[in-house]
Structures are given as structure tokens and as C-alpha cells.
């Protein structure tokens, strides 16, 4: 076909052909303003943002690829919105949902021009990635290991991982060195790249060096710049998180911003928002210790004072106790005496009353007895009187008997008389004088 010069077509210029492609693409609705899922690699920003949008299969092989661009003004607006929602800067390795239109430039070929980005898609994907890492660390039983490590009472020996000359590192060091408590801190910087693809390998290398001198340090502080360009995505890395989780001394992570969370925040012993906050935390531990020392000093002084006061009190108490005790003994004795004193008259009067009653009774008995006795004697006397009366010589004389007397004596026996004695015979009505003539037996 091409052999015939006459029939040889003139052809069109490449630019004309490319123009046709351009026109074809521009008029095809299927390639304009479409939401497309992909992953960003090889991103570079030079007023405009250029990157490669790729698609990977489950095995991780790249199965589709297209150059993409975000023009300057659009990029500024989208990047700000993206950072606001995700807390991360648009960067390599991110899964994105972008609204693109295919554009064929006659000099540079085909490109996807990005008109919009849905940050929520990326946010969801980042969260999913983080969740997967956290789940894996949990499953492996290492997630809490660093957080459960005991802290030095006052962490003073600090291994710092940061970018040399970074503003955040300077802030951290200033804060530590000029602390108002004059606490002493010993730091050593283990420099690392804190953003981009070198983040993980350099931080891991720094951790490795620290681990080789682990007995020199109380904790690790991982801080970074503080500049606006944050690329936290680099820290959402399983290997780095696992290493920190199993690190033998506590790690303080201060790489995030207010609303950012990376997986490191889940595994590190302490999470702070800024390098300054990391320094404040360490100073806080130190000042707490100083306060505790002051309190113990006060406690010592107070204990001595209390002990002495207690001893004095004891003495005073003893002194106070002795005299009341003595007084109490005396009081008790006195009370007892009083009791006895009262009891004696009572008991005595009781006794007297009883005795008196008994006595009265006796008197009564006596009186009765005497009366009885008198009565009896009286009767007896009467009887005797009667008897005497009966037996009186007069009564005998009255009954006809006579009484013989001689020289004033009663004569009751004939032998009392002698012949010639003058005797007198008394009769009831007179007497007879006679002289004894004869005495006969």
C-alpha cells in the first residue's frame, strides 16, 4: 500500500492526531468528571501537584497506572480541606477517591486532572489501616507492653529521636534546660528523618542504637518538627509500632497534632501532642518528686514535733494521773469511813431498840412475876397467920387448956420443977399461983 507513491496518503501531523484524541476524550462523558479509587505514589509538589495514581490487586501488584495532576489553585483548596478532615497531608501510599477527568495533552500525553478529592474515603481507609495494625498488635499480645512498663521515679536520662535542627527538638531542649525547678536532665539525640518514606527505617535505626545503650536511659522521646507539613501516615506502620510496643523502656510519642492519632499513640507508654508537652511531662515528674521530698521533709519535722509533744503529754498525763489517783484512794477510804460512821449508830440503835424491847419485855415479865410472887406469898402469909392464930396459946387457953410458967419460963416438962417452986397457971380468964408439993413421975 505504501509502495505506490500516488496512493500514498499524505497523513496528518501527530499534533493533529493528538488533537483528535484530545477532542475524542474531551467529548467522551465516560472519561470526564468520574470518581475513581486509587493509591497515590511518587507525589511531588511544585506549585502544582503531580503524582501517579495506581491500582493494586490483592497480591500487591500494580495492575493500573495513570499520571495525575492537581493544578495549583485547586491543589491549595483541596489539600487544606483534606488535611482538615483527615488530619494528614495528602501523600504517598494514601488511598484516595478522586474526581478526575482524562486529559490528553498533545506534548505530554494522557493525564488525569484532579478536580476533587473525597477526604472521608481516605480517612476511612487510614482508620481501617490503623485498626488492622492495632488488631494485629493486640492479637500478638504486644499492644500494652510498653504502656505497662514501670517508669523511673524521675526520668532524667532521655534518649531523643528527632530530626536534627528541627524546631520541635529545639523547643523540647529549651523547655527541659530552662525548667524553673532547676531539675537536671541528660539527653542524647538519635537523629532520624521524621517525614516521608525514610521515616520508618531511620526511626527504627535510632531505636536500635538506643537499645544498644539501653542501661543509660530512663525513657525515649520521639518528637518531630512541629512544622505544618505533617505526614503522619508514615507512622502508621506495623513494624515501627511493634518495635515501640516491645521497647524495653517507656517511649513518649509527641508526633501528632491536636486531632491526629497514629498507631504509635496506641502503643507508646505516653502520648503527648507537642515536643513542649513532652518536656512538660518530664519536668512534671521531676517537680512532683521535689514536692514529695518537701512533704517527706515536713513529715519528718512533724513526726519529731509530734513525738516530743506526745512524750510531754504522756508526762503531763502521768503527773496528772498520780495525784487524782491518790485523791481517789483517800476519797474512797473517806467514803467508806463515812459509810461505817453512819452504819454504826444505825446498827447500834437497831441493837438498842431490840435490847430495849427485850428489856421492856423482861421488866414486864419481872413485874408480873413479882406480883405473882407477892400474891402467892401473901396467900401463904395469910395461911400462916391463920395457922399461927389457931396455934396461939390464947386460943389453946380458950379451948380449956392452961399454961404453966415458973420464974418467967414456960414449963412443958415436970422435971423442970422442984418441990417448993412457985408456979403460975394461966387460964383463959385469969391465973392461979400455987406452990409445988410433990412431984410425981
Amino acid at each position: 500500500m505504501a509502495n505506490d507513491p500516488n496512493s500514498t496518503p499524505q497523513g496528518i501531523s501527530l499534533s493533529e492526531f493528538n488533537q483528535r484524541i484530545t477532542n475524542a476524550i474531551a467529548t467522551s462523558r465516560d472519561t470526564q468528571g468520574q470518581w475513581v479509587r486509587g493509591e497515590i505514589i511518587d507525589m511531588r509538589v511544585n506549585r502544582h501537584c503531580y503524582f501517579e495514581l495506581i491500582e493494586k490487586d490483592d497480591a500487591g501488584n500494580t495492575v493500573a497506572r495513570l499520571g495525575a495532576a492537581i493544578w495549583g489553585n485547586t491543589f491549595m483548596a483541596l489539600a487544606a480541606q483534606f488535611a482538615a478532615v483527615t488530619g494528614s497531608q495528602l501523600g504517598n501510599g494514601m488511598k484516595v477517591l478522586v474526581k478526575i477527568s482524562a486529559n490528553f495533552h498533545k506534548a505530554f500525553g494522557i493525564k488525569a486532572i484532579v478536580e476533587d478529592i473525597d477526604p472521608n474515603f481516605t480517612l476511612g481507609d487510614l482508620a481501617r489501616q490503623r485498626r488492622e495494625i492495632i488488631e494485629r498488635l493486640t492479637r500478638e499480645g504486644v499492644i500494652d507492653m510498653n504502656r505497662e512498663l514501670p517508669w523511673a521515679l524521675v526520668p532524667q536520662r532521655i534518649a531523643v529521636i528527632s530530626a536534627e535542627g528541627a524546631a520541635g527538638y529545639g523547643d523540647f531542649m529549651n523547655q527541659l534546660e530552662n525548667n524553673p525547678y532547676r531539675l537536671k536532665f541528660y539527653t542524647h539525640l538519635f537523629a532520624a528523618t521524621m517525614q516521608g518514606q525514610n521515616t520508618v527505617p531511620t526511626v527504627m535505626a535510632a531505636l536500635d542504637r538506643i537499645n544498644n545503650n539501653i542501661e543509660l536511659f530512663d525513657c525515649v522521646v520521639l518528637i518531630r518538627g512541629g512544622g505544618a507539613s505533617s505526614d503522619l501516615n508514615s507512622f502508621d506502620n506495623y513494624d515501627l509500632a511493634a518495635t515501640i510496643a516491645q521497647f524495653p523502656i517507656p517511649v513518649i510519642v509527641g508526633i501528632g497534632h491536636e486531632r491526629d492519632v497514629t498507631v504509635l499513640d496506641y502503643v507508646a507508654a505516653m502520648r503527648v501532642k507537642t515536643p513542649t508537652a513532652a518536656a512538660e511531662f518530664l519536668i512534671g515528674r521531676g517537680s512532683d518528686a521535689l514536692v514529695a521530698l518537701d512533704q517527706m521533709q515536713n513529715a519528718v519535722v512533724a513526726s519529731v514535733r509530734d513525738s516530743l509533744a506526745r512524750a510531754r503529754e504522756q508526762l503531763t498525763y502521768c503527773t496528772g494521773v498520780i495525784s487524782p489517783a491518790a485523791r481517789r484512794v483517800i476519797d474512797t477510804a473517806r467514803t467508806r469511813l463515812d459509810g461505817l460512821a453512819q452504819a454504826v449508830p444505825t446498827a447500834a440503835s437497831a441493837h438498842l431498840t431490840a435490847a430495849s424491847t427485850r428489856l421492856d419485855h423482861q421488866v414486864e415479865l419481872l413485874r408480873n412475876g413479882v406480883a405473882q410472887l407477892l400474891r402467892t406469898q401473901d396467900q401463904r402469909l395469910q395461911m400462916l397467920t391463920d395457922k399461927v392464930a389457931l396455934l396461939s396459946p390464947r386460943n389453946i387457953l380458950n379451948r380449956g387448956y392452961s399454961l404453966t410458967m415458973c420464974n418467967g419460963h414456960f414449963i412443958t416438962d415436970s422435971t423442970q420443977l422442984h418441990e417448993g417452986d412457985v408456979i403460975t397457971n394461966h387460964f383463959k380468964n385469969g391465973s392461979v399461983r400455987s406452990t409445988v408439993e410433990t412431984i410425981k413421975d
Partner: protein
Amino acid sequence: MEENNEKMTYTQAVTELEGIVKKMQDPECSIDNLSDYTKRAKTLLEVCRTKLTATDEELKGILDNL
């Protein structure tokens, strides 16, 4: 005891100090022990404060040369 103060760690010193304070705060604490306890507490407080605020040149040197 005195010679070892330099070599005590902060944790050791503060732990011993806490023990002494506790003993001193015990109402049963004998007044005869007060003087010894107070002396030891003072030494330990000094050790602790020094650890926190004075420069350990040896450690500084090691870290500088790391």
C-alpha cells in the same frame, strides 16, 4: 552507710526515706530512735535532691561521647 550514699540510686534513696518517714509517723515510734531517724532522713533528702538537681558529670560525659 555514709560511703554508699553516692552510689545509691534515686529510687533506693527515696524508698528508704519513705520507710523512715513511715516509721517516724508510727505513734509507737520510740523517742529514743528519733535522733537516728532524723539524721538518716536528712542525709537521704540531700541525696535525692542532689540526684534531681545537681549535674552528674560522669553520666553527662558518657552521653556526650555516645
